[in-house]
């Protein structure tokens, strides 16, 4: 029963659990969530969304919890927060008719990816023709654009990217509006600065400094490291694209670029990150303690990792085989994957980073306010 009823039930359960956490406080040193909840005596839906997105699901509090199953209080804090998060994503999805994407997200993402791949093939086939797809590799400079002109490619991706940015922006803006914080405070340097530092270092994916209890009870730095590889891999690939765009429009230098060029170096490093990071995260996930996380989100999580992995892998394959007959097909596959990644950004796991970032900003705004006046226990 996804949607408002599910959210209502989760908020009620969160109120029960947060009252336990607020009276206990043993987990205060693990992350930002517990200091944030201790500032409150009551938890409405808005607070529950905020705390859920502040939670990085490091798992430390589950293993430390004296009230975790089999205790009759049945507190599984990270799982509850994960269950809330998917309802947060659903609630703030724009446009609203796409909320259903979060119901069977793995399937939705797979469908979208398949569609994008098919569209890329169909488009390139129609545009360049099957023969050109196979033979364009022999044009050394500008070979990609022998298949599809740069302007057409750029236009398609610009539209997809801007649409994704608009959808993401509206979602985050609504999330922020419901927090009750001032709109311009989302970018206030004294809060956004430390929040960005926390996000870029994954400070709270660290079990309070000893590593995540992931995939099991033993603290380990692996998850954080693989996440860094995936995230910075993504950023490097994005940087490669930006540099290439600058080369194209600023200097008139056309792709494919030589191996020692900046776009290729950035893209290669990024591609390796996108390959190794998601592979590592998938490998850890295989070993994950069944008590950690929300099994209902397996589809969403796994599909997002596979999409990142395939984007990196197809990019590297295109680089490796760009001077062979396969270039045309590989270009179609890679463009299809990148398009799928862009198009689905607002409707899958990708959104976690934005809501979490906003929650971190709110955390740093609150930190500067005096704590509630509560007598010593």
């Amino acid at each position: 029963m996804p949607g408002p009823e599910r959210l209502e039930a989760l908020v009620a359960e969160a109120q029960r659990v947060l009252a336990i956490c607020n009276a206990c406080r043993y987990c205060e040193g693990y992350c930002a969530v517990f200091p944030a909840l201790e500032r409150r005596l009551a938890f409405g839906e808005g607070e529950v969304h905020y705390l859920a997105s502040l939670c990085h699901n490091c798992g430390a509090c589950l293993y430390a919890c004296q009230y975790a199953p089999p205790h009759e209080f049945q507190v599984n804090f990270p799982r509850l927060m994960a269950e809330v998060r998917v309802e947060t994503y659903r609630k703030y999805t724009w446009p609203g008719f796409l909320r259903g994407a979060f119901t069977r997200n793995g399937l939705a993402m797979a469908g979208a990816t398949g569609g994008c791949l098919a569209a890329a093939f169909a488009f390139l086939d129609a545009y360049a023709g099957a023969e050109r797809l196979e033979r364009a590799w022999s044009d050394a400079e500008g070979a990609f654009y022998a298949i599809v002109p740069h302007g057409v490619m750029a236009a398609i991706f610009a539209v997809a990217f801007i649409a994704a940015l608009v959808a993401l922006g509206i979602g985050v803006a609504r999330f922020w509006r419901d927090s009750g914080e001032r709109a311009d405070d989302l970018f206030a340097p004294h809060a956004a600065g430390p929040a960005a530092a926390d996000a870029l270092t994954l400070r709270y994916l660290d079990g309070g400094g000893i590593g995540c209890t992931y995939p099991d009870a033993r603290p380990s730095p692996l998850r954080r490291r693989f996440h860094h590889l995936a995230f910075y891999g993504f950023l490097l690939c994005f940087a490669a694209t930006c540099v290439a765009t600058l080369y194209h429009y600023g200097f008139g230098w056309k792709a494919p670029y030589p191996l020692a060029s900046l776009p290729v170096i950035l893209g290669t490093l990024g591609g390796v990150g996108l390959l190794v990071g998601p592979l590592g995260l998938l490998w850890l996930r295989e070993r994950r303690d069944p008590d950690l996380g929300d099994p209902a989100q397996d589809g969403m999580d796994l599909m997002f990792l596979w999409m990142l992995l395939l984007t990196g892998a197809t990019g590297l394959a295109l680089l490796a085989f760009r001077e062979t007959r396969s270039m045309g097909s590989l270009l179609a596959v890679h463009l299809g994957m990148v398009l799928a990644l862009f198009v689905t950004m607002p409707y899958g796991k990708f959104v976690h980073g934005l809501y979490r970032g906003a929650a971190l900003v709110r955390f740093h705004l609150e930190r500067r306010r005096p704590p509630p006046d509560i007598a010593a226990e």
Partner: protein
């Protein structure tokens, strides 16, 4: 688990003292079997509900600010026990705590700043990151890495002695009994606070209404067996750390969250809607430990903490929502006590409140006059709806009855001589140092000290 194997050291219990002993003995080369009554998910005895250790230090140490010298620590202990302590053992434990922090860090324990609402403990108590269960997880991981054998879900049913020499134990798992032989025994299996029949024996029928704040596995089996084999008994079976907790708490294992910190901000009445003690006698952290016994002395062992709207949100939030009403009469009805009687009590209290300047951070001048019992601080009229109430029951945390030990953690027998090959650590011997009263974090200090000593002595004894 092959119980027939040869072990050097058999550790009974699975909490802090047991793990400190097992790790220390194993590091000294002994083959160690640890027998824990609870299943793995609920291991750790009452240590899993703890959160800090009172720690002596002459200069800032890890998470601890300033200094907490031996003498101050000793005086704090002497005061709460009213002298019911063994100064030699107490000072030994106090001095040893200074060396525990680096030892704990080496075994995977991590510390954190004092928790919100506990700043008064920031100088004296080292808080475990994540609390006592995280501490126990670290110790079990360290023990596993060292090769300590652990048998979960295993109860001790008999201990065989020849004179003061332990020969073997009988344990039971999955309905099957096994004899376990070891050269040395370390008893670290806690008190008897989960044993409702024994509590009734010691406290009378009132114990039927007690709530056990900690593990349901502290049945006192090992304590009873040692006493039956001639161990010297210390402490009074009728003494225990007993606080007033929410009457709606689970019968066992409710832990820290069951406390109600509203008492000093309002009044507490019994079933007859009468007050029975000065709620504002002293700061709540110094007084909560007497309220369990006070409530235990009331009819049906129940009390009700009542406040009006003024202090709401100014104390640590209790886990269960309060009973709430617009009038005192309605509140009484909701609590199932006599409305007219509660109105009379509140009116009488309100009439006795003298003007003063309310300040919950100090012993202020808000007191009653001509009221019996008086409320000597923080007395404000209960006149602003809505009104809130929390039902209270005695919550037993731990018991003081234990076995005698010497400074080498050797079990002392009835005749005053140490047993040949038996050591004791933790709550089972804490009564040597804490004869009555309570000091936050002292249990972990005693358990860690005597656990480490017992483990080291046991390994040395086994090798000799």
């Amino acid at each position: 688990m092959d119980f027939s194997r040869a072990f050097d050291v058999l550790v009974l219990g699975g909490g802090n003292a047991a793990l400190c002993a097992a790790i220390t003995a194993r590091e000294a080369g002994a083959r160690v079997l640890l027998v824990e009554a609870a299943p793995a998910a609920l291991r750790g005895g009452n240590s899993r509900h703890t959160r800090n250790m009172r720690t002596m230090h002459d200069a800032p140490l890890g998470p601890l600010a300033d200094a907490y010298p031996e003498e101050e620590y000793w005086q704090d202990l002497e005061k709460v026990t009213g002298g019911l302590t063994d100064e030699r053992l107490a000072r030994m434990a106090i001095r040893a705590t200074a060396e525990h922090v680096p030892w704990m860090l080496r075994h995977g324990v991590r510390f954190q700043a004092p928790l919100g609402g506990t700043l008064q403990l920031g100088r004296t108590n080292a808080f475990f990151l994540g609390g006592g269960k995280a501490l126990m997880n670290a110790y079990y991981a360290a023990a596993a890495a060292l090769g300590v054998e652990v048998a979960y879900d295993t109860a001790v049913v008999d201990l065989a002695f020849e004179g003061s020499r332990f020969t073997h134990a009988t344990v039971e798992r999955d309905g099957r009994r096994h004899e376990v032989r070891a050269q040395v025994l370390v008893a670290a299996a806690g008190g008897f606070e989960s044993n409702l029949a024994w509590l009734r024996e010691a406290w009378g029928p009132a114990a039927g209404n007690f709530i056990v704040r900690g593990t349901p596995y502290n049945m006192g089996a090992v304590l009873k067996l040692l006493l039956a084999r001639g161990a010297k008994s210390v402490g009074d079976a009728g003494e225990g750390h007993c606080v007033a907790i929410d009457a709606r708490s689970p019968k066992f294992d409710g832990g820290i969250v069951t406390r109600v910190d509203a008492v000093s901000l309002g009044i507490v009445v019994n079933r007859a809607a009468r007050r029975f003690h000065d709620e504002g006698e002293d700061f709540w952290p110094k007084r909560y430990a007497i309220w369990g016994r006070l409530v235990a002395g009331q009819p049906d062992q129940i009390g009700y903490a009542i406040i009006d709207a003024k202090p709401m949100g100014k104390f640590m939030p209790p886990v269960f929502p309060p009973v709430k009403a617009r009038t005192i009469g309605e509140l009484a009805t909701a609590l199932g006590i006599d409305a007219a009687a509660l109105e009379a009590t509140v009116n009488g209290f309100n009439a006795a409140v003298r003007p003063g300047t309310f300040d919950h951070t100090r012993l202020d001048d808000c007191a009653t006059a001509g009221l019996e019992p008086p409320k000597t601080h923080w007395a404000r009229r209960i006149d602003t709806p809505p009104y809130y109430a929390w039902p209270l029951r005695p919550g037993i945390t731990f018991t003081y009855l234990g076995v005698g030990v010497d400074e080498r953690a050797r079990l002392v027998m009835d005749d005053g001589a140490p047993a040949a090959n038996v050591y004791a650590a933790g709550e089972i011997m804490a009564g040597n140092i804490l004869g009555k009263g309570y000091l936050a974090g002292i249990g972990m200090a005693i358990g860690t000290t005597f656990g480490r000593i017992a483990g080291g002595e046991a390994a040395r004894h086994a090798r000799a």
